[in-house]
């Protein structure tokens, strides 16, 4: 069973590396934000697998915190990308 968890961790880490490739290469900012969002979610599953391998329950608090922080970061980046658009300006008047 432990070997199975290790193999899962290696496979998820390979996926993580692919997301890092998109984060570095991505042609636009939106590509990088999408990759960053997926990296945050992938990091959650890596931490879950790590807590299974080490065998402690104390890492599970990190999962909640990381998912909340990842969502807030994504929302902030989306707002930053969208700012200055014609709809927003008209709605303030």
């Amino acid at each position: 069973m432990m070997l199975f968890y290790w193999i899962s961790l290696v496979l998820v880490s390979i996926g993580f590396t692919g997301l890092l490739f998109r984060l570095v290469k991505g042609p636009t900012i939106a590509d990088r934000v999408v990759a960053l969002d997926a990296i945050g979610i992938s990091l959650v599953s890596i931490i879950a697998l790590l807590s299974l391998i080490i065998g402690t329950e104390f890492f599970l608090e990190v999962i909640v915190l990381l998912s909340i922080l990842s969502f807030i970061g994504t929302t902030a980046f989306a707002k930053f990308l969208e700012r200055g658009e014609i709809f927003d300006r008209n709605n303030h008047h």
Binding site: Y5, G18, R22, S42, S67, F71, N90
Partner: protein, 139 residues
């Protein structure tokens, strides 16, 4: 004491729990790999958003569920935070993907050449004309 007894017994119950964990974990790992593949191979921000929000949500959901079952049924720890994390991720990850896609369209990123149909363009044009018509009589 109890833990060692449980490991010695190696009952049918343990085997069923392990099969459940393995099925969930394999599904989660496969979806995580599909996410990476989609983010590398797809041609467009919008299609990449589709890959990143849908499949990675299901993948992390399955992995967290497997972790929860492992801690609950094998190590006798009922962890409520994991359930909160599962529900939170299930709600917020698609919302985040939708927000990024909308922001990308509003900041003027072009769709890929293979795109067949773009409903957002006509909707934005309609909305702009609507706002201009509403503003004209006031001034």
């Amino acid at each position: 004491m109890r833990n060692s007894l449980r490991e010695e017994r190696f009952s049918i119950e343990t085997i069923i729990i392990n099969i459940l964990i393995i099925v969930l974990m394999v599904t989660g790992v496969l979806f995580s790999l599909v996410t990476a593949l989609g983010l590398i191979r797809l041609p467009d921000v919008y299609t990449r958003t589709h890959a990143a929000s849908k499949s990675s949500t299901l993948g992390v959901l399955c992995i967290l569920l497997a972790t929860f079952i492992h801690f609950w049924l094998i190590e006798d720890i009922f962890n409520t935070q994991l359930i909160i994390a599962i529900v939170f991720l299930f709600i917020t990850a698609p919302v985040g993907g939708h927000l990024i896609g909308r922001a990308a369209y509003m900041s003027g990123i072009k769709v890929a050449d293979e795109t067949v149909r773009d409903d957002m363009e006509s909707a934005i044009k309609e909305k702009k004309e609507d706002i201009l018509n509403r503003k004209a009589p006031e001034e």
